[in-house]
């Protein structure tokens, strides 16, 4: 039983990370109706930019690479790059495509994925880089002693960080003026525009926030498994979360992330050996798919009535 909980907790903790990436999708989808496939590439770009600046900064400033100042300076520069990237995307890619079918926008973001991946590697190189956030990936001792379970310190730290981020974003969008405007835009572009909400402005903010989320996700994933091209696959991890939770629901992304994280790890451990393992790649998709067949509107979606 202890082993079961160990797997479950490990799964839930990684589920929080899935939720974090999924949140980036949800934010942009809610605000602009764009299903941004490039979110994974943005995570990669963010982490790579952070590490890149962190390597360059000591040369520019004469500080130690391990210093706190360098860390936050690199963070700020990476964040600024993400904001610029987000705004450029909005201006150059999405604005000319306003009023196009959603599928067209989606395909444009697939193009964006390739573009961002290529640019990131052209600037910073394609080598795998290590990233140290100062938290080691080792079991928490008192849990190991008292319950005989391995729960990684790093996982707990990452989950806590992601949890705080998700919660504060939820509060931000629920209670601030920008948040209200965003929800109005999500509901109806035309109507929001007609009551004087600056649409472009809101979109820029959302892309910037999505960039910020991508940066945090990139740092956590990057510290875990190295900053490398594989970070772009975080998007593929987040997609089933989105089908499960719905593209428009923040709570859906969180709950969906937890469900996918936990069930994926449990399935790998308990079903995997029966079929030869490696089922993590597709199991979440199948799970989400079967769920959808039963409940097409997703976890938190509203039932849709076709009007004719």
């Amino acid at each position: 039983m202890g082993f079961f909980f160990e797997v479950l907790i490990g799964g839930l903790l990684s589920g929080v990370l899935y939720a974090l990436v999924a949140l980036g999708f949800v934010l942009i989808y809610k605000a602009s109706g764009v299903f941004n496939f490039a979110q994974g590439a943005m995570v990669f770009f963010a982490a790579l930019t952070f590490v890149g600046f962190k390597e360059l900064l000591p040369g520019w400033t004469g500080l130690e690479e391990s210093s706190v100042v360098v860390f936050w300076l690199a963070f700020a520069l990476a964040l600024a790059s993400m904001v610029v990237l987000g705004i450029l995307t909005e201006k150059v890619v999405l604005r000319p495509l306003v009023n196009q079918p959603h599928i067209t926008l989606f395909m444009a973001t697939i193009g964006l994925t390739f573009l961002v991946e290529g640019i990131a590697q052209a600037i910073w190189g394609a080598n795998v880089r290590g990233l140290d956030l100062g938290i080691t990936d080792e079991p928490i001792e008192w849990i190991l002693d008292s319950a005989d379970m391995i729960v990684s310190k790093f996982d707990v730290f990452a989950a806590a960080l992601a949890g705080i981020l998700v919660a504060s974003l939820a509060l931000f969008f629920q209670y601030t003026k920008v948040g209200r405007a965003l929800r109005a835009v999500a509901d109806d572009h035309q109507a929001a525009l007609s009551i004087g909400i600056p649409l472009q402005h809101i979109w820029a903010i959302v892309w910037a926030v999505a960039g910020f989320v991508a940066l945090v996700a990139g740092l956590i994933w990057g510290a875990r498994s190295g900053v490398q091209f594989a970070l772009t696959f975080t998007a593929l991890k987040a997609l089933p979360v989105l089908i499960l939770g719905g593209f428009t629901s923040v709570p859906g992304a969180i709950v969906g992330g937890l469900i996918i994280g936990a069930s994926e790890k449990l399935a790998e451990v308990y079903i995997g050996p029966m079929v030869g393992g490696g089922i993590e790649g597709w199991f979440p998709y199948m799970l989400a798919l079967f769920f959808l067949l039963v409940r097409p509107e997703g976890l938190f979606g509203e039932k849709h009535i076709d009007r004719v």
């Binding site: 039932k303 076709d306 004719v308």
Partner: protein, 273 residues
């Protein structure tokens, strides 16, 4: 008690003969998640007549049409089509039984030409399978040409020969409405449901559309159920009119009867009780 039924075999001014009841709706109630769209509505449609449904916005007129051809399933009530009772009927069955319709907001296939749109109306009558279509020569081609002939008749009837190869998305509103009527007519329906066919048209376009509706009814004997806001048109061309308000039936009868019905006048003009 209002006179609800026009006698079978009655002759209208234009000399059409009104037939038996072909569609009989009994005590229909429909609600969406607790909101009542239709409450306990009963009326019938007789063969060859033009039956109008009128009422203020949100009265449930479109819902009524959706119930008739199986897009919505009423929670309560009975529908008899040609004497056969049916609780659940999907749109496909309705189409197979000869019920065709147009939509309030044009529902054409935007990426296809006028010709192809109207050809889809013949869908129910085309029997070739996928393999025959892939090979094309022989049976499928013969069938395609056979139906093309019918479709060209519809195109001639609606006077849209010059635009047959134009993608419908590029046509002006009035012509799109006409093409949509054409798609419905191509199915050679026995019962035609028209949802605001004249909405947003100017006087001339309305006159054309009226002429088409009357001609369809006259030449092919098609029974027509019509939703329309223009009272002048409704009173002119309908044989009988049913009036809905807030999902309830408040009047039913010939145009003259409805015009003088106090409830109807109250619903349209407002009144102090």
């Amino acid at each position: 008690m209002m006179m609800n039924d026009m006698a079978q075999g009655a002759e209208t001014s234009s000399g059409r003969r009104i037939g038996e009841v072909i569609l009989d709706l009994q005590n229909i109630s429909l609600s969406f998640g607790g909101v009542n769209a239709l409450t306990d509505i009963s009326f019938n449609v007789r063969e060859h007549e033009i039956r109008s449904i009128i009422g203020p916005n949100g009265a449930g007129k479109s819902s009524m049409l959706n119930v008739m051809n199986g897009v919505y399933h009423p929670q309560k009530g009975k529908i008899l089509f040609r004497g056969e009772p049916r609780q659940k009927m999907d749109p496909h069955t309705a189409a197979a039984q000869g019920i065709a319709r147009t939509f309030q907001n044009i529902a054409l296939f935007k990426g296809m030409s006028v010709l192809d749109n109207i050809m889809t109306g013949r869908n129910m009558k085309m029997k070739c399978n996928l393999l025959q279509h892939a090979i094309f020569w022989g049976k499928a081609q013969k069938e395609e040409i056979e139906h093309r002939v019918k479709v060209e008749e519809v195109i001639d009837f609606l006077e849209i020969q010059s635009i047959r190869k134009t993608p419908v998305g590029r046509l002006p509103y009035g012509l799109q409405k006409r093409v949509e009527l054409g798609r419905a007519l191509a199915a050679e329906p026995s019962l035609l449901l028209l949802d605001e066919p004249m909405a947003g048209m100017n006087v001339e376009e309305k006159q054309d559309m009226c002429r088409f509706i009357l001609d369809v009814n006259d030449q092919f004997g098609t029974t027509i159920v019509l939703i329309e806001h223009d009272m002048g048109v409704v009173m002119d061309i309908s044989d009988r009119v049913v009036v809905l308000d807030y999902g309830k039936k408040i009047g039913d009868g010939t145009p003259d009867e409805v015009k003088n019905n106090e409830d109807v006048i109250a619903a349209y003009l407002g009144t102090s009780h």
